[in-house]
Each structure stands twice: as C-alpha cells, then as structure tokens.
C-alpha cells in the first residue's frame, strides 16, 4: 500500500503573528516558516506505518509556492520516499486543495491519505474531510490512535465528549490530532539522503483543477485587545475583587 501525506507550509507555531496595517493580511516577510505541526504528525505516522511493514511507499504532497520544497525535503528526511509539489502562487482554498489531492490520488492510487486535522494559519479544519467526501472514501478525523485490522482501520478520535473509536474500511482519509504521536527529530545524514530523493513539480492546470477561490477575504484585522489587568497581593484581595469589583463569584 502507498500512503499519501499532504503537507502545508505555514508560519511557525512559535511566531507571534503581526497583522498588516492595511488589513491585507499578516506579515510574512522575514518570518520563520515551517511544516504545519499537524502535518508533521501525519508524516511521522506514515513513517511508523511503513516501518511496521504495513506500507511500501510514502508520497508527500504540498500545494503552494516554490518555497514549499523546504517542507517537502523535511518530509523526505523524516522518511517519505518521494515528494510532489503542485506549484501555484494563488492562495488555494480547502475545496480546491481537496480537488488537487483527489487528482493526485487518482494518479498514484494510495490506500490511505493522512492529513493534519487543521492548518494553524487558516484554522479551517476542512481539507481532509472534503477530500474523503470527493473520493467517496471513509473518514476518521482528529485521530489519536490508528490500528490496522483485518478489514481496515480502527481509529480513536479526539471528540468534544472524550475519545471515540470507529472502525473504517480502506481506502480512507485520516486526519491527525496532536496526541497521535511525537514526530522524530531529523538527523543530519537523513537530510543529506533526502536531497537525492525524487521531488516532482506539477501545476494545477496539468491536474485540470480550477483553483479560483469562491470565498473572498475582504480584510484581516487585529482582534480587539483586552484592557490591562492588575496584580493582586494575595488570595484575600483576589476573592474580594472577584466578589465586589467583578461580581463574578
């Protein structure tokens, strides 16, 4: 079985983002970029599945500008076998991403696609579910554990009420939650090896997908700031303020 892992390049999760004054977006010039943390977990999971002998090949796919090659190389260094960059400078929205991934899947025929549950820039949490629907595949979103069974997968999902386990047939789309695994550190020799692994470049046109957005972003603003608070000296002052000033207890 092949596994496809779509990965996204985003502003690093440690960066405090700044909104541009003109409302056109957030500042990305000279800002550290990296692989979306949930996608790293997806890569790690795929590599573990291959190491356990349950998959033969792992293909990492990124959609975006040329710079996405850096995260694809990271995925290759973590253990992916080959990478595909679908190159475009347009900001592609989840439905079109899902269509591009579907077209890629139709060419590559993997038995499993593992995506991050959400990209931490747009916080959409849509692409995996959309891809699964377009393919007519089964879906296990927000996975914190994946087991192979005779008939498919048993996946534990992190849901609002706790943990839910479902059994799904393959082929399937799984999206990762944070506790699925802890991604490995990439070792230097593997980075060297990754340079020699194949990285193909394609365009949305070649895949026959229209990437024009259906949702316009009118503007992006700073969230309203909270008024500065005060430090209290001790627990008694705290309780007094909560009761008599804030009136919340």
């Amino acid at each position: 079985m092949k596994i496809l892992i779509p990965i996204k390049r985003v502003i690093d999760f440690n960066v405090r983002i700044r909104v541009k004054k003109d409302g056109s977006g957030v500042e990305t010039a000279n800002v550290k970029m990296s692989m979306n943390p949930f996608c790293e977990i997806a890569v790690e999971e795929a590599v573990r599945i291959k190491e356990a002998g349950k998959a033969e090949e792992i293909i990492a796919v990124a959609i975006g500008g040329r710079q996405c090659q850096d995260i694809l190389r990271t995925a290759l260094a973590m253990g992916a076998d080959r990478a595909i960059l679908i190159e475009t400078d347009v900001e592609v929205q989840p439905l079109a991403i899902a269509k591009l991934l579907k077209a890629t899947i139709e060419k590559e025929s993997p038995g499993l696609a593992i995506l991050g549950k959400q990209a931490i820039d747009g916080d959409n949490n849509q692409t995996g579910q959309m891809l699964s629907a377009l393919l007519g595949w089964s879906q296990a979103a927000f996975a914190s554990n994946i087991e192979f069974t005779d008939t498919g997968l048993e996946v534990t999902r992190e849901v609002d009420g706790g943990l839910e386990t479902i059994a799904i047939k393959l082929p399937a789309v799984v999206t990762t939650d944070l506790r699925l695994n802890e991604p490995r550190y990439v070792k230097l020799p593997n980075i060297m090896k990754a340079r020699k692994k194949p990285l193909d470049v394609m365009t949305p046109q070649e895949l026959g997908v229209d990437v024009a957005p259906s949702i316009d972003v009118l503007d992006i603003a700073e969230p309203p700031a909270r008024a500065a608070g005060v430090k209290v000296a001790d627990v008694n002052e705290l309780v007094d303020k909560l009761r008599n000033e804030a009136k919340v207890i």
């Binding site: 549950k117 089964s138 879906q139 849901v159 479902i166 799904i168 008024a227």
Partner: protein, 313 residues
C-alpha cells in the same frame, strides 16, 4: 431564504452549542429548519421544536445515525438540503467532522467557525489561533458554515412551537461503524457552557494534584479545563483541553492555574469576561490577558483560596 441547522445531540438531549447555532441562523433569516437525525431521538426532536427561532424540525430515525458518523449524516444532509441558502452546524468536533463533507459534495467552499454575521454572505472568523480576524464573503450558491458558540448568545431553549416532520433516512453508506466511546462522566457543568471555568496546567505536576482544582471547582460550581501540557502529561482526559485545538470557551470567569499562557492556549479562553491567573512566574504571558493576576505558588494559593471561599456567604 431557508436556513438548515444540523442539531448536535446525544439522542436524548440537544447540546447547548445547537442553541448558539440557532441564534446565528436567526440573524440570517426567519425560515430556520432544524435537522434532528439519530436513533431513538424523539426527545431530542421534541426539545428541538421548543427552541425559540426554530420554525420546523425534521426528525429522522435510523440505527446508523445513532453515533453521528460523518459519512451517513452527510448523505442525509445532502438529500434534504434542497432549497437551503445556508447550512449551519455547531463548530465543535461534531460540525467539523460533518460540514466539510457536505460542502465538498455540494461543490461549494465552507466558512469555519464564524463569530459574527455582517450580512447573508459576509462573516467574521478568527484565524491564526484568534490572533487575527478575517472578514470573508462567500460567493457560493449555498453557504456552509460552522458557528463558534462563543460568538452568539444561546437561543432560548423553551418557548418555541415548531412543527415536527418525520422524514425518511437516506440509504446507509456503510463505510464506517462505531466501536466505543470513552468520556469522563461528570457532575460538573459542561466545559463549553459553564459560567465559571478553572483550568490547570503543567504547574500541577501530577493528576493527583488536580484534586486541589476539583475542590475549588466544586465550591464555585465551575467546570474544569486544562492546558495541552496537562492533557499530554496524562493529568486529565483530552476533552478538558482548552485552546486552538481544544475547546474554545468564553465563561464569565476563567481561572488559569499553573498555565503559562501559550498563544495556543489563549486562543481558547481569551474571550472570557473575567480572567484570573495564578502562576509563580511573574513573567508568564498569561498575565498579559489576566484581569487579576496573582503571583504565587499554586500549592499554597489554592488551599488558601478554598478557605476564603468557605468564608463567603
């Protein structure tokens, strides 16, 4: 305009997030239909009909709707959404699991987690863990939208008199099946709708020490929350996690104890009305959003707080 709201329920009780979603739907128009799909879920359908703002309830029964499997519910929603201008669901894991599938099959985009409605096609939603607000306009013929509960005051759960129409289930899809569920049964209020929430972080050092928090929670009638670090360390179950990737809440009072205040945590609680932080590190970023900050060791502060609360009448 006809608005379809998909109810989140446990086959018995409608979840409060559905009330916030109905409130959002009512801002869009007055023709609001609530879909209650489940198994032996008559009581949920009945309470759906009492929600103020709901005009009609569609009630569907099938064994394969019992556990809200995304594949099955999607087939149903797609089959019964004809004529709808908007399809809404609560923005928790229920809606996130389901709505993108619905949107994809309708070949439209989706707008996640709206907190404000400007017009029938323009919405405000947080991005970058709430560090920026995007105003977006959907040009799709059907708007598929998940609603962040904290953005909309809940619709009244009683007083409405919608008619209930029983409709047929869609044919089963059969790709997935439910195996089991593990959830903390708790006497405490639900995290997402509690007026007071007290959360603990890595500072507690162990799950055992979380008892200190439980004691205060009981006295305040509060729900308990946690940082990701506390969940990862196994102090509490995942459904306690507050933050960008956990629950997004906005109680009247949020007390963060032994939590540093990483942006991913702030994303889940900074809309709270009053924020209290107890942390021994005066530089901890949590103090930047706290209305009342107490620099103290939690192992001393919490027992004192417990005593002080006892003295209140």
């Amino acid at each position: 305009m006809s608005i379809l709201v998909i109810a989140e329920h446990d086959n018995n009780v409608i979840k409060t997030s559905t009330l916030n979603t109905v409130a959002a739907a009512s801002q869009l128009g007055d023709d609001v239909t609530l879909l209650v799909a489940g198994y032996h879920c008559e009581s949920a359908a009945k309470s759906g009909a009492e929600i103020v703002g709901v005009d009609k309830v569609l009630h569907v029964e099938a064994a394969y709707y019992e556990h809200a499997l995304a594949e099955e519910l999607t087939a149903l929603v797609v089959a019964c959404c004809e004529g709808a201008s908007h399809i809404l669901a609560p923005g928790g894991t229920f809606g996130k699991n389901l709505l993108p599938r619905v949107a994809a099959l309708l070949d439209v985009g989706m707008v996640s987690d709206i907190i404000e409605i400007e017009s029938e096609d323009t919405f405000v939603r947080p991005i970058y863990a709430g560090n920026a607000m995007a105003r977006v306009k959907s040009n799709d013929p059907v708007k598929v939208i998940s609603v962040r509960a904290t953005g909309f005051d809940a619709a009244a759960s009683e007083g409405g008199q919608a008619g209930i129409e029983v409709i047929n289930p869609a044919p089963p899809v059969g790709l997935a099946s439910f195996v089991s569920r593990e959830g903390a049964e708790s006497e405490r209020p639900e995290l997402t709708s509690a007026k007071v929430v007290i959360s603990g972080g890595r500072g507690f050092g162990s799950g055992e020490n979380f008892k200190l928090l439980e004691n205060i929670a009981d006295k305040l009638g509060a729900a308990i929350g946690a940082s990701r670090a506390a969940v990862d360390a196994g102090y509490v179950l995942n459904d306690y996690q507050v933050g960008q990737t956990g629950k997004i809440i906005a109680p009247d009072l949020y007390i963060a104890v032994g939590i540093s205040g990483a942006i991913q945590h702030l994303a889940g609680m900074k809309e709270s009305k009053v924020i209290v932080a107890i942390n021994k590190d005066e530089e901890a970023p949590i103090f930047e959003v706290a209305d009342y900050g107490l620099v103290a060791d939690l192992f001393q502060a919490l027992p004192t707080l417990s005593e002080a609360l006892d003295k209140l009448d």
